[in-house]
Symmetry: C2
């Protein structure tokens, strides 16, 4: 890279796609290399490329940008990207750039910045094509040819009335096949789905999936059309939401990133490891109550992790199905009871089966204790797999009811339950019946 | 439902969206209710609704369909959905229906059915709008108005040469703003991304995400245009792939479904629980080697699950980040070494920190054994968190190298490693230094 001549490099980078540029930036090993690249990326691509970087790196790189540089980048961005970009740079610099913008652009961006990032309002862009209820197809096509050129991925035309209330949606496709003198109000789809600016981005993704559309109009509480969200933005959201759930289920912070330095990653994960340490100690306190029993029958120490581990796995299975079901809208409060009953039943059935299996194995493994040990571990296994089904379903449903992300911390709570129940049931029953 | 009059029900169902109908079918508690609903859903909606159901329920319901019923449903479906639907019904019925189709439709559907379900070819639909290299914009618009009406979500026009090789892509948007006498070859985007029919659906999703397009053309190995994939189909794929990874990480079969009966679910999960039982017994065999040590120092039985649990959590953190990174294309063989070094380093750093923490706690908890016990558990913790980082990164990368899904079974292998290393290191060191 260092040897490349500036003009040639600039040319080459200019031909790349924003996401390819982002990958190139991510793969740089040295900061100087990265800075050199940033200087050589044409302004019209730089903004989009920066927005594809993980947040941590974005912030690092953007601290070096002054108002002039930011202004040049923002000029080339769509309103939604411009708002995101300005939210990522220094507050002082952002304010300076905002003041230099044209009043109409500034208002647009201010409005976009006012929405929570993870809502429909935070996702939408202001660029869209509005037509009035009284217009004919011919007029729409005329106006579209004059003013629509700059709108990317224009697939729908939005019909609004004099008060800017969204009346219906008309696809470019329908327009193309319509007679010139038909009125748009007669053609527009009045039942076309729409989203409220405050709706969560997960809802938005679900509506896209449900109705198989390529863009959704966004309205405010009054029903006024204020933006649109295109399918390509939603693809990013779906990836993000799935990653978030997966990370949370695995006791990871959702900011955990491959590109972060070791110390930052170790710190983020350390928080959750600390939480796990505390719960593991809680489980050990349960074992400590039975030290005398274990001292008499060491076989218990050999077998007890099996009971805990099976509970943990079975509970995680249920938990994952429920968390994913909630995320995809398939588990709701309406069917929560049925779901709970099913999961508990699955716990009972596998509890029965694995009680038999482990009971037999334990009896044969430790013939001195024989069937009595087998019966104790079988009972403990049954109890723990029942508890696993119950906790695996109840924890995420309860978190959801409390308006907390059902994936958050639920794995840790679950394994605490299955460890405590597993150790307590097995060692407790052993104390009662084997000594 | 039973009280509703047939005409009214039919009318009501006819106004619903296919995915709403699928939800309604899913929520039926009794089989008769479901059959009654299916009879009342208009044919033009029934196919799409059935395709939204989970595979198990689909198959159950479709066994009752005869060739006449299937034919009526298939008539209303796009080529891709028709192929999927025919693949879900009985082989005999499907063959009968295929024979009744018009030869051109049959060939189209046969071609679609010949592709693996999880590839670009399996996702694509044959309906698209092709134009020849020599055409002008005016001619395209004329032909489009005549023949394009039935193509849903038509956003791009595909330019092919005389041999049907894809030359470029032209958006409806560009067409609308072009002068009538310009040639399509001058307007078409020749670098527009394309996918091969054999490419994995995960690749397809990644290309959509990367290039922010609303549809992708599919070509065969010769470069001939054979279909297109629209963004709304990809949204389903992304959900599916994320669910699959999440399920596999949690030791779930990817067919596990909320709507299945208890016994089926218990059976599917039982397979993985059985695998886990075997690995848990392997870990217990390690403990069994140290029965004599535990008999002398019962505190070891109290503390040993902490070492194993911390290794399991830390390993799962790394594993999840790597599996997700591979799925999103951020972890590749090119950066595998760097990723591995990072994860092992994180393991070492947290190993050091938590060694100190647990060492101190253990020394204070069991003052009789004091600092010596603290040192032993600290060393075991460090070893296990190092092993967790190494295994958490190596397992998915190795599976990927062997062309196996990196999420498959990796959780089970990982916890086996961290359990065995944890118990062996802790009890082994205790035997050497505390007795």
């Amino acid at each position: 890279l260092a040897k490349w001549d500036e003009t040639r490099l600039r040319e080459l980078l200019g031909e790349m796609h924003a996401s390819e540029l982002a990958e190139l930036l991510l793969s740089c090993r040295k900061d100087e290399e990265r800075s050199r690249l940033i200087e050589s990326i044409p302004d019209e691509l730089l903004g989009e490329a920066m927005l594809e970087l993980p947040e941590g790196m974005q912030e690092d790189l953007l601290t070096d940008f002054d108002a002039d540089e930011v202004e040049e980048v923002v000029e080339h961005l769509d309103s939604d990207d411009a708002a995101d970009f300005l939210q990522a740079v220094d507050k002082g610099v952002a304010d300076e750039v905002m003041e230099r913008l044209e009043p109409s652009d500034r208002r647009e961006i201010e409005q976009l910045m006012s929405h929570d990032e993870e809502t429909a309002g935070g996702l939408m862009q202001a660029e869209l094509f509005k037509v009035r209820t009284g217009w004919s197809v011919e007029k729409v096509l005329q106006v579209l040819r004059r003013f629509g050129r700059e709108i990317e991925n224009l697939n729908y035309v939005y019909v609004v009335n004099d008060e800017d209330l969204l009346e219906g949606v008309l696809s470019l496709h329908t327009l193309l096949f319509a007679e010139p003198d038909v009125m748009v109000t007669d053609l527009a789809d009045r039942d076309f789905p729409r989203v409220l600016a405050g709706q969560d981005q997960e809802d938005v993704a679900r509506i896209f999936e449900k109705f198989d559309v390529l863009a959704l109009p966004v309205v405010n509480d009054l029903g006024e059309l204020i933006g649109r969200i295109t399918a390509d933005d939603v693809i990013d959201v779906i990836h993000e939401e799935a990653t978030e759930d997966m990370y949370r289920l695995a006791a990871l912070s959702d900011q955990d990133d491959l590109a972060e330095p070791v110390t930052i990653t170790a710190g983020r994960r350390g928080v959750w490891l600390m939480v796990n340490l505390i719960t593991a100690i809680a489980a050990s306190l349960v074992i400590a109550q039975f030290e005398a029993t274990i001292a008499q029958i060491v076989a218990l120490a050999v077998l007890m992790p099996i009971v805990a581990s099976m509970g943990g796995i079975a509970g995680t299975q249920t938990l994952t199905v429920i968390v994913r079901g909630i995320a995809l809208g398939r588990v709701t409060f309406a069917n929560a009871r049925r779901t709970l009953i099913k999961e508990v039943s699955v716990g009972l059935v596998s509890g029965l089966v694995f009680a038999l299996v482990i009971g037999t194995i334990a009896s044969l493994w430790f013939p001195d204790l024989g069937v009595r040990l087998g019966a104790v571990i079988a009972a403990a296994m049954m109890l723990n797999l029942f508890a696993a089904g119950l906790a695996g379903a109840l924890i995420p449903l309860t978190l959801k009811r409390l308006n907390i992300d059902p994936a958050l911390a639920s794995g840790t709570i679950l394994t605490t339950v299955t460890d405590v129940v597993g150790f307590f049931a097995f060692l407790g029953l052993a104390t009662l019946f084997l000594i």
